[in-house]
Amino acid sequence: MSLSAQVRLRLGELDLGVDLDVDEQAPVAIVGPNGAGKTTFLRALAGLVPLDAGRVSVGGTVVEDPAGQIRLAPEERGLGVVFQEPRLFDHLSALENVAFGLRARGVSRNEARARAEAWLERVGLPQVARMRPRQLSGGQAQRVALARALVTEPAVLLLDEPLAAVDMSARAELRHLLRQELKRYPGVRIVVTHDPVEAAALAERLVVIEEGRVTQDGLLVEVTAHPRSRWVADMVGLNLWEGTASGTSVRVGADATVVTADPLEGSVFVSFRPNAVTLHRRRPEGSARNVWCLQVQELNPTGDRARLRLGGPVTLVAEVTAGAVSELSLADGGTVWASVKATDLVAYPV
């Protein structure tokens, strides 16, 4: 069983052109900015919006092909969807909602109930079984929707931000559950997420969609280590510069050149981790050439560390310990010297 999709469609301002082949080996995570077309892509796979062109096939069966006049209805495609909003059936109890897909497939009343109950338990909500959707909190509703899709065990599973409304502690647990479920799930699994932690926990392959196009596609570790767009870099928390390399020297701005470890030529990306940045009260001595005097534009303490957004000849985010913040008496608007070791800069061709 595998999914092969060439999706071409226009919807309002969106011009979607995404090619994606997914096999049942491992779950795939899709990430991308708001409005990039992630939801629309899933909807197209599910048969909820028609393709203008292209083709979608599931396990070798063509389920949609505008040129060949083929278009299977959503219920004929054997897939399950968790939508971005819960979309529970208002007139059914939480349990009946979860049992719906089973009943629709002809599973007996008792068995459907039992399996639905088991799944409600798994998503941590055994107590809401008899409640109506409007009596549930936002997060509870989304968890019921998750159970409703998972219980039917379809050949293709499409999840659109399944954990966005789930609270942090429950999220860790649910993420764990989902990870296990997805891991052993014998089908195609695609998860849209905004959370890199979630992507890392759930998938091995990461697909980035920006403005209706796939901009990166590869193993998660590969994509997160070598971001190719500002958006991806922001998402994985790396600094990213684009520049022109000649040898180990890369020109990344009007007044700024950095030195990297590996020699390259032509257009390159340079990325580095925020915690590779060292901050100093005065210009550091020694041979480091990647040194700038920058202004603190934003200071965000998070636990025992702090993230700083610094601007000047270059713009970068630095992460330092809380101790360093007070030691250097850093504050919004102040200036500071920042240095990065050449060996911490990763350069790769555009």
Partner: protein, 252 residues
Amino acid sequence: MAFAAGAVVMIVLPLIGLLQRVSWSTLLSDLSAHDAFVALRLSLEVSLGALAIALVFGLPLAWILARHRFPGRALLRGLVTLPMVLPPVVGGIALLYAFGRRGLAGQVIYDLTGWRFVFNTSGAMLAAAFVSMPFLIVTAEASFRSMDRRGEEAAATLGASPAYRFRRVTLPAVAPALAAGAALSWARALGEFGATITFAGNLPGSTQTTPLLIYLDIESGHEATALALSLVLLLVSLGVLVGLRDRWLGNP
């Protein structure tokens, strides 16, 4: 608030006027004197039959009008409302042309099966359905159109067939509007008069529904009886509407 009171006055005052004129002392004898109970039973039978016809035939049509695009849809949508506009007698004549023994379809049916609608309870039902079905269709169509379809989409991705979806998701979602439409349709069928008399005739026990009996009472000068009978008709429908609708709709 004041306007709402105006509406209540406009509707309730005439009913009070009726109540005032009913001669209470002779009410029971007025009613039992003639075919009142036969007519009432027949009225219920005919109006419920018409409602059933409207539901079985009208609901699918409403669905198609609301959810499918096809050439002539706008026209068809207009056409199905026309029986409401037609003066009842003309409606009856039109029914005769279509389903009478010499009518377009009536002739065929008669020749094939020997069945005829005229002078027959089925004819009264057909007449009532003809005038009342549009109310159900229009209300149902509007509700099918305006309902949130995201639930239906979710049901489809859960593997539900269109029929299963319709039954388990769509119908419950539009239940309040459907109930309103069914109530309108039923009430209209219960009050139906002109098309029935022209198309089906007026025979106690088979086509003489209560409104026909009331009309005859008025024509022959038995106004007191007519009013008494109207009162009973009103009470019956009030009982059904108050009793059923609240339960059906749920109380918000």
